[in-house]
Every structure is written in structure tokens, then in C-alpha cells.
Point group: D2
Chain length 407, copies 4
């Protein structure tokens, strides 16, 4: 790979990406463009602008954007249509944000004539894969720079020395190692590393930053009603809202009631197991509610097909293949199923759990006439069941007869 | 089908199966053998003996058995190795009991020279299918009698008239319709029908019979440690126990802490949607713990294959195909994966939720050496990630290059 | 089911459906509408009109239609995009025609105010299921009449007696039993029954009606070039043609060269095994060619997903679920994959086999630059493979280390 | 990776692996052990011994073994139980041989105290992955040396110079580039590269080395009867034979009749497409026959599950994951299905095609009594089909009713 001339850096404004910024300038003598996105991580973005300017980035090379609506509308919601869970439990909060960042990095590269993008993910994790597969899928000629895999700043001491040598301000609380590493966006906060590295030790309480401990959540349950149209949430308690507003509001509710915490050991794409603590308050409610509305509006054939496709879909997103033809094929199938997933679900929130307690819809497939214990006025002929069972049993009978010959 | 001469009836001792007993005698003039099983439903069995005798069954034709250990060891535990959930949420508590009952019905038919078995499931539900597919798979020549699909006792009034005409005692509280229908065993209690028939109405509190309402559960969380060997739970808090004892103990813990309640609209095999309330206290803890121990002892390739097979496996059990070659094939694959699923999980129980907070095992695949944020002494070369990503990206680059030609 | 007032009958003009026509008139005293479709079965349709008139059908109640283009365009081609094979071998020639016939039956019922449709399939086969599931999916209120499951004309003798009693003309060669039963359309000819009922006996030569015996096919191979656009064949040897014309032309070529014969024992949806002989000359070439063009234009992620979905897709069509949400979901995924399946394939036809020998496309993903044994000018860095392998091996190494502890 | 001290080399005796042998000695100054296996590639092995000795290998370090029986019994036959085809067409002839070679390399390393193994696969292909994943799975501490990824002998000229400089004899016909590259074993011969690199150009006739061109095959068809026990072929034309003998005999038959040639563009695991010509004469017959015997002895539930698992199974083998827990899980499921796959198949061989024409078995599930067009003496009640269809249709009717509301 020839040296990059102009690099778009995913820049948070924090110490690490500031070091990367300076390292890119010194290592490659290249022009740096910074991209700082508001994904709902809950931090002010303007300080990133000031810091970038201080580090010598031209104002026209500083991109700061609020991408929360795009994030929820085009990434989070399509994923939730699939009821996606990685390894049965993980709501993919980090995984789903990476392709959007890469998409903007590549677009900004094209706008600014940059030939490379750079990110601050390490060489051990999944995020490097997600960033880079997305970037290559969107621009096969783009260069991707992953400083953590390249440089020799392999210890905290060396990083701080580099920062000092290049006049990068170091906040007091950044002098020592953080007790764990955090990633946050509108969908979730994840924590991993250091104090969490032994999966046989419980995570200390201070790891949980976003969700109230269930023990401290309100003593009274709270009901929330979520309305869906074609598989996407569109209103809360009767009030229509934009996608990001909905997720924000569900985060408030879930956070208050201790909902969506997960302590997980998962399998990284790069081959190792890692332990993380995830807080996904709004997403956990949303998944529960989406399942609730599908229960009455989705046909069993469609639902069972979705259940069967889901693990593969979730794995693709986890592994970084959002921008792949197979993810798009699965999305086409999933989206096709959501045409009538319209209606309202009531979810009960209480001290760590979110449970569907009622759901209704004009699009309901539930037929009280068929299922009732009362007289059904001929909706269903119980005699039909006999033929149904007998033909389903036919092959089993033939098998049993055959097998008996060889016992 | 020629008329049966001797019938083995799945007999609870309750009013409905007593009516069936008498109906079989009067309709077919056949000898009736009763089979009453203790599956952990929490009822005394001896009254069933007295009642059968009173209805004219010869003592040698009355079978009363405690099958709880067989139920958990040979049915529940194998199913939990798969992390089976039907439609994402249902723990299959009724589905998994039916094949065992059918197996004993057929075995008793063979022991007593009976040519038929009979059950009390209606023509609208899944249980008729499960009973009958199992029976036919175990004895292709057996006759199966499903009185609810045959007789003309199609109203409560007619049933009571029949009972009175045949001196079947009717408990006072059975005169009226029950407000909902219940099935129970060691794994779960399910409720459905009547007051639950509108899925847009919340289930009334009195439906929940087995699990404390989360709001009334203890204010202090409780930890439980579950040890596994080859995928099966073998000890609780360090004390080795038999399978049924383990599930009983987990039921007590879960019931106390409000764990395992589910309000679900599901798709029946016979083609309609139905709404049920399930209480699966011990099973919910067991599933959480099993996932917890798999997180550190199961390889990702094995785990992802299991995730992919699971929905099909669960559907087979739900639909009544426990005794089918494809369920046995899937079981062989699943069991193969459990050879090292050995270790201990700590689960926190609190007001409706059960969450893994720690897990450890001599069989752990988790490598702190690989995952650590600290120096890893060469366990992992971050440079490897570059090649890994580049080759995973190769096809995406070729795609992007091709697709760009046609934009 | 109340008695039908007006019935649309799938009418071939042959003896069996003429008997059904008359039986409907006499049994239900209902008005009959006949629908006779040209699906490419190779028979004149006008005699069916004359016969229907002779049997008392009003001219305005006689529908005779050439649906070949619709059949190939809307049913055969979408299915071939999936490379669908049932049980590894069967090209689904009968299965794919049934939903089209049902669709027209229901549409004609709506046009003519009929309340029922009727078909001539027996109670043992798959076709009854396909006809009826399609009809119910398109009109849930329609009545479906399947005379073979209802009437008492259960022997050849009784059928002929009924025909004679009702002045239905009987061709001389219809007096005796046919030695086997045939279904034909533009995609295939199938034969089953009687002389084919022992799968341990070879099918006699006279069963093969459409494809030249390979031993009698030309001694010289013939090449054919098939062009595809977005997954559908659009031209043969450079000449653009309509869908039905393409299949007709491929049938001629395949029939001439002995291609597409299959002797199969398959599993019917109704639970039994049956043996059939299939002749699918054009379809066999088309499948081979479609695979050939996908080889260079379809990405591996998309292709492997298709391979994984295909058996389920084929099973749905075989079982009669063409008009089901899950088939439509799978179709959406498959169609999404075909956007660049455009290019040309050369297939060699010779004495029973059709083999792709060359394929080329502007949309090709094949990169000679990457794969070449020669210098590749940096297109591919072989060093990348090391990291790729090492990270793919990581979990296997951790497993081996763990497992070694317990040996 | 520290330098290896003693290396076991997969050694063919040819020029390339002789260069590798010498390069290992000179580059690492390490002791070399050679392993030469007879996998049925059709070459004498003793010349490899002489050549190894000439290159300075101690006789005790020269391993020459006939592994044909192990190859067919433990690798080929288990794979054929799955009817494995990669990308719909490829019989995996190269893929299935690699794990066996790696297994022996690692075993010999353990016997001889070697710390490394080496292979002659290039950095662009799949074989490097297969060799190395297998080696790491069997010994996580083993070093693997892949000279083609390491050395600077990147052109034919340099290789020949190195050979001359080290007194490695060069056969006259090895001076120039071979027109294509070949791999062979008892299952297949594959050819790729150079003259085959343009998939739009037909492969020249001289590429086909093992199978007679169909045009030149005998004009008379030949029948062969293959007997199976539990899914494995055990006899040909009534004569019991060992696994390798069976495959050898089928190769002779298939080769004579022009069977098993395939011109394929496939997707390599490392991300690129490549074009290969495969000749798999015996394997093609074996697959056809195995399917034939499964048709009558395998239940549809088992068969459809196998069809669904197969693409994943084949992909695992293609990608080099033979020694992985997920391949072993799938194998457990597949093997479970084969318990009654016992019986005999007659296959007709003629000018390039192998077709099942008859099959019979004491374990047959085919029931003429059920399927017959004649009177079936009550084996099957056609009325059952009505209930079967009506319940299968129920959800489709509910869907149609719902959907109609929104049109």
C-alpha cells in the first residue's frame, strides 16, 4: 500500500483519537480530515471541533454531524425487523453503528478527495473488521489505516509520551488506565476489558452507567404502549415520533426501570471469546414489543422462516457484513414479511424486565372464532384434525414398521 | 378403524377424563386401563385410583406412576441442551411432556394386550397431534381414540348430563365453566382459553398460579449457582441432585422470585393462533444458566450451528415430532456439542428476572491471555487481523468494482 | 360445506374430467364452467370445447386459454432463479403448474360468479394439495370439490359404467387401464403408476415419450449458447425470444439429445413414497446454464445463501405453498441476488448430458488478475493468507488445547 | 514464530517439493522428515524415497505410506453419506484429501519429535487453509511452514536457478511451465490454471486425463449394481470389496464411460473465483447410487433435514474445517440418518451419464400398498387428505381474509 495523501479519521475528540490524528500527520505527513458523529453517545461534539482545530485541522476539514435519525431509521430499525440477537442474547448495539460510520467516512473521502480513512479500533476486536469491510465494500480502492495495528505505541506510557511530545492535552482522569473500555450510542452502551476480564467475577456495580440497577428502580411498574407500522415503531403512548425520538424515549423508560442489562461472554469474529457488559434499555423494550406485534400480525410460515434466518442475519451484522449481498438478500426477505406488522403493544416495565401484556391490531391474524373454547359456529371442523394427524403420521408408521423388522 | 377391545386411557382422575372413561365403556363396550402419571403437576394421584375403581376399573388395570425423573432426565434435559425456544419465547413445557405420556400408554398397551390408547385432548389443539404422532411412531398398529373429536357431548350441559347419568361424581366447583384451562407438570404451568381469549386484554392476576407476581417477590436478590456436566445440570449451590430434584429446587427459587412468566400469542400446528400464559420458573433459570455455561465452554462454530438448528428443533417438539428421525438427528448433533459443557454458573434472581453474572469451568475456552487489553505476551499477533480482513474483504471489493460499472 | 351452486372445473377434455363434469352436474345439480389451459402439454384444446358443449356446457361457460407465456414468465423462471431441486434431483415440473391453474380457476370463479372450483386430482397425491392450498390462499371463501375423494366411482368398471350411462364418449384406447399415468406441460412430462410401481424394476422404454433415448440421440454433440438477464434466459444462440419460446426451443434441443430424464422415488407431502419418471429436457439445460452464469456473476456470499435457502424453497413449491408468505419472502431474497446475473453460457449437449463449457459476462466477478498463476501485479498479497488462516485457526487451537486437558 | 528445528514435509518427490525440501534445509538449517502418501494419485512412490535420500534425508526420516483405505473409509465415505456438493456441483475431491495428509504430518511430527510441518500449497489457494487449519486443530502448538508464502522464488526462472544451484535434478519436461496444474487422488483429478484461466474459453481436450471423452466412450451402456450398508458402498455387482477397492473399481467404470467431468467456476475461501476442471468418475457414480438407495430407505423428514444441512457441511469441508466441532456435529446427525440406508442400486452408465434405474432393499420404506393406483385394501383413506389440506390451508385462509381488508 502506498502512503496515504489525505485521510478521513473517525474522530471522537478524546485522547486516543487525538493521538491517532497527530500520528497520522507525523507518520504519513498527510492531510487529515476529521469526522465526528453524534450517534447518541451522549457527549458534546463541539469540543471535538475545538480540539481538532487546535491540532491543526483546517475548519473545512472538520466534519461534525448528527446522524441519529439516519442511524435509527436505516440501521437500527431494519435490524429490529429481524428480531436479531447474536448468540441468543446480544442486541448488536456496537455492530450496527460501525457500517454507518464507515459509510460517512467513505462519502467524506469522496467529497474531500481523500484517498484513505482511519479508525481507532484495535487489532484484537471486531470493530476493525466492521469498519474495514464496510469501507472496502463501499469503495474498493480506498486505503484503510488502523494505527493500533501499525504503530509502536504499545503501552499506556508510550501513548502518553507521544501525546506530551506533540502537545496533545491530557485530561487528568486519562493519565491512568481506565478500569474498563466503553462504547456508546443511541442503542446501547457496552463495557469490556480490565475489571471485566475474568468472566467468573461479577461485574462491579460501577460498570453500569446507563441503566438504573433493578434494585433501585421504581417500586411501581409502568406500562408503555408502542405502535408499529410495517414493522417499525412509530408512536409511544399514542404520540407519533421520529425513529431517533422513539429510541430516545424508550431509553429513558428502560433506563429508569432497570431494563436491558446483559453480562455476556461472546465469540468474536477474530476467533477469541470476550466478556462484555451491555446496557440496551430502549432496544430491549423494542425487541419485546416487536415480537409482541408479530405474534398477532405475522403468519406462522413467515415467522418460522424469520426465526430460521435470524441467527445468520445477526452473525452477518456482528461480523461486519452489513454491506454484503447476503445481508441485503436476507433484508429483502425480512422486509417482505413486515407489510402487515402494524398495530400496538402494551409492555409492562418493572425492575429489570419488559414484558408484553397485551397487543391489538386491525391487521391481526388471531381469530377468536377459531380458537375459542366456546361453540365456534363452524369456523373449524375438529374432524379435520384426524386426517391431518393421520397423514402427518403416515411416514412415522411406515418407519416404525420397517424399523421393527430389524430389532 | 374397527372398534377397540381394550383401551389404555391417559387418566387424570378429573371430571373430563372420568367422563371419557365411562364413555369408552359405554360407546365401545371395551375394557379400559387407566394410566395416571405424576409428571410433577402437583396433584395427589391416589384419588385417581379410588375414582377409577369406583368407575369399575379392575385394580390390575390401574397404572399410577411417578415418572418425574424420567421426564426430566430423558425429555427436559435433552431439550434444554438445545436452548430450545418455540417462536423465540416459549419453553415448550407442555409439548415435551406429551411424548412421554404416549410412550407409557403404548408400553402399557403392550403389557396389557390393549389394542388402543385414548387421550382427553380436544380437536383444536396441539396436544392431540403430539399424543397421536408419538403413539403411531411407537406402534404403527395402535388405535388412537380421541373422544373430543368423536362424541356429541359438545356442550358443558351435555357433559354434566352424561356424568350424572353415569354416576360420575361432580365436584361443586366443576359445575360451572372454569375461567381458563390449565396444564401443569414439573416444567411449567400453562393457562389458556376463556378469560385469556382476547390477546388485547391483559391476563388477570388470578391466572398466575405458580409464580409469585414480581411485584410481590422478595426485595432482596438471591444468587444461585448451578453446576453442569456435559450440558446437564447436576448440582445446585454445590449440592449434587437428581434431575427432577434440580428442576424442583429451581422451580421453588424461580417461583419465589417471580421468574418465568410469559404472555404469548403462538401459532398452533393445526393452523390457528392461540394465546397462552406460561409459568416456567425453574426452566427459565435453567435456560439462562445453560447459555451461561455454553458461553465459556462451547466453541463458536458449534454454538452458531446450534443457534441455526434450534428453531427447527423447537418446532419439531412443538409439532409433536419428538419420536421422529429428524429430531433424533438433531439431538445427535446437539449432544455431540455438549461433551465439554461442564462448569458452574451464578445466576442472580430478582423480581422476575434471572441473569447470569458469573461462570467458570475447567473446560473454559475463554482465554484471558488472548483477549486482554494488557500485553498478551505474543498470544495474538494483531498483524494477523490485517490479512484476515483483507481476504474477507476481497469478494466485497470485487463486487463493488463490478457494481460500479453499472451505476 | 353447503352444496355448490356454480363450479369452475379444471377440464382437460379427456374421459376422466368429462366424467367429473357430468358427475358435478348430477351430484350437485350445479352449473359448471370449464377451464382448459394450454400449458404446453402438446394437445389440441379445441376438442375440449366441442366436448364440453356436447356435455351441455353453455359456450359462455367454456374458458380455453393459452397460458404458456404466463406459465414460464411468472412461475417457471422465478423458480429457476433459485436453482430449485426437490430432494436433490426433481425439477418440480408438475408442482409449478398447479398454482397457475388454481389462480385462473379462482379468477374465473370471480368473473362468473361461481362459488366453487373442482379438480381431477386423486386423494393420494400431491396435486390435490397444490390445487387446494392455492385456491384457499387466493380466495378463503371458495369451495373446492375433489370428486376423487368424494364419489363412489372407485373402480375402472364403475367409471366406464357412469360414462356410458351419461352418454360420455369413450375412446377405444380408454377402455382398458392405461399402463401408467401422465402429466405434461411446457416444463416436463411425468409418468407414474402401474408399470412403474415397483422401484426395483427398470422403467420400460415406452414410458419415455418426450426425450429421445440417449442411445438413439445424435452421435455429434451440439453447442447451445443461452443469454441471461437478471437471472432469466432471454436469448438462444444470439436470438432474443419470449420466455415460452425459449423453453420450447430448449425442449427441442434437449429432447433431441436425450437430456433430462430422471427415474426417481420421491417423498410425497401426504406421507408416502412414490416412483416417477420425469422428462424435463429444456429445464435441465436451463438449470445447468443458470448455474453456469451464476458461477461468474454471483458473489459467494449470495450464492451460498441461495444454496442454503434452496431446499426449503423447493419443498414449499413441491408441497403446494407457492402462494404463501414464506415462498414470497424467499423469492424476494432470491430475486435480489439476480440483479447482475447477466451474461452468456455455452452448454454442450450430447447423448443425455448438458454441460457448461464456457461462460462470459460484462458483469463477471471472476478476476484473472487475482487468480492467475502468473505474476499478478500486486492484485493479491499472499502474505494476507497467513493472517487469514491464523485467525480462522485461533478457535480451533483454543479447542485443541482445552480438549487435550481431558484426554 | 521461532525458527523450526525439525520439519515434516508433505513430499511428492516432484520438482517443487524437492525445492521446498532443500529450501527448508538451507533457510532454517533444520532437519527434514518427508511424508509421501499414496492417496491413489496413480504415481509410483518409491522414486520419492530415492530422491529424498539423494537430497540428504536420513532413511529413518523418510515416511512412505499407502493411505488409500483410510482415505476412502474415514474421509470419502463419511462425506458421501451427506451427498455433499460444494456450490451445487463440486464433489470436493481435493478438499477431502487435505485433512488426512495434515493428520499424518502431525502424527509423524509427534513420532519424530518434529516441531513443524510444511506443505507446498501456494498463498492464493484453498489448500494452504485446509492443511493449516487441520494441523492447528490437531496440534495447537505445531508450527506450519508454507514456503510459497515466504520465499523469494517468485518466478519459474528463480525456482530453476535454485534447483540447479542445489543439485536438484530437473526432468526435461519440467523446464517449461506446465500448461495447467494438476492434483489427483483416488477420488478425483483436478486441473486449473494457465490454459484454463479464461472461463469463457472451453477447456482443451488434453486437460482431461482420467475420464474418456464421452464421445469416445463405448456405444453400449453398461449396468452396475452397487450394494450399500448403513450408507456406505460395500459391494459391486454382488462382490464385496474394501472401500478403496470399491472406489477404484467405480473409477474404472466411470472413466471408461466418460462419467464425472465438470467444468466449474467456484468461489475460493480466500475470496476469489477460480476455474477448474474436475474428473470424478467413481465418485459421480457413487453419489448417484447413494441418492438412489436413500430414495427408498430414508424417511422424508430425515432426508429433508440432510438436504438442508448439506450445503453447510460441504462448505465446511471445502473451507478446511474437517477437524472442527461443527463438522463433527453435522456428521453425527448425518451418520444417525444412515442406520437403515442398506440395499442395492442399479446404475446405468452411458457416454457421460450415470443414472439410477432401479433400487431395492429389505429396509425399504416404499409401500406399494399405499401408493398404488389399484385398490389399496384400506392402507390409505383418501378422506384423510381433506382434513390434512384443510388444516394446512387454515393459516393461508386467515391471511387471505386479513390481506383482503387492506387492498
Amino acid at each position: 500500500m502506498s502512503a496515504p495523501k489525505k485521510v478521513v479519521l473517525a474522530y471522537s475528540g478524546g485522547l486516543d483519537t487525538s493521538i491517532i490524528l497527530k500520528w497520522l500527520q507525523t507518520e504519513y505527513r498527510c492531510e487529515v480530515v476529521t469526522f465526528t458523529a453524534d450517534l447518541g453517545q451522549g457527549e458534546e461534539l463541539e469540543p471535538a471541533r475545538a480540539k481538532a482545530e487546535m491540532l491543526g485541522i483546517a475548519p473545512s476539514n472538520i466534519y461534525i454531524e448528527d446522524v441519529r435519525e439516519e442511524f435509527v431509521r436505516d440501521f437500527v430499525f431494519p435490524m429490529f425487523r429481524a428480531n436479531a440477537l447474536y448468540e441468543g442474547l446480544y442486541l448488536l448495539g456496537t455492530s450496527i453503528a460501525r457500517p454507518l460510520i464507515s459509510k460517512r467516512l467513505v462519502e467524506i473521502a469522496h467529497e474531500t478527495g481523500a484517498d484513505a480513512v482511519a479508525h481507532g479500533a484495535t487489532g484484537k476486536g471486531n470493530d476493525q473488521v466492521r469498519f474495514e469491510l464496510s469501507a472496502y465494500a463501499l469503495d474498493p480502492a480506498i486505503k484503510v489505516i488502523a494505527p493500533w495495528r501499525e504503530w509502536d505505541l504499545t503501552s499506556r506510557t508510550k501513548l502518553l509520551e507521544f501525546a506530551e511530545a506533540h502537545q496533545i492535552p491530557i485530561a487528568k482522569n486519562k493519565r491512568g488506565e481506565a478500569p474498563f473500555s466503553v462504547d456508546a450510542n443511541l442503542l446501547h452502551t457496552s463495557s469490556e476489558g480490565r475489571v471485566l476480564e475474568d468472566p467468573g467475577q461479577e461485574a462491579p456495580d460501577y460498570v453500569y452507567q446507563r441503566v438504573t440497577r433493578p434494585e433501585e428502580a421504581p417500586d411501581a411498574p409502568e406500562m408503555v404502549e408502542i405502535a408499529f407500522e410495517k414493522g417499525d415503531a412509530v408512536a409511544i403512548n399514542g404520540e407519533a415520533m421520529s425513529p431517533a425520538t422513539i429510541l430516545t424515549r424508550l431509553n429513558e423508560l428502560g433506563g429508569k426501570h432497570g431494563i436491558g442489562i446483559l453480562d455476556l461472554v461472546e465469540n468474536r469474529f477474530v476467533g477469541m471469546k470476550s466478556r462484555g457488559v451491555y446496557e440496551t434499555p430502549g432496544g430491549t423494550i423494542l425487541l419485546e414489543a416487536h415480537r409482541g406485534i408479530e405474534q398477532i400480525t405475522l403468519d406462522s410460515g413467515a415467522g418460522h422462516l424469520k426465526d430460521w434466518l435470524m441467527p445468520r442475519y445477526a452473525e452477518l451484522i456482528y461480523n461486519g457484513f452489513w454491506f454484503s449481498p447476503e445481508r441485503e438478500m436476507l433484508q429483502a426477505a425480512i422486509d417482505k414479511s413486515q407489510e402487515h406488522v402494524t398495530g400496538t403493544v402494551r409492555v409492562k416495565l418493572y425492575k429489570g424486565s419488559a414484558r408484553t401484556v397485551a397487543r391489538w391490531s386491525d391487521h391481526s391474524l388471531y381469530s377468536e372464532a377459531h380458537v375459542t373454547f366456546e361453540e365456534d359456529a363452524g369456523a373449524y371442523d375438529q374432524k379435520d384434525a384426524e386426517g391431518f394427524i393421520r397423514l402427518n403420521a403416515l411416514r412415522l408408521k411406515l418407519l416404525a414398521t420397517r424399523n421393527a423388522k430389524f430389532k
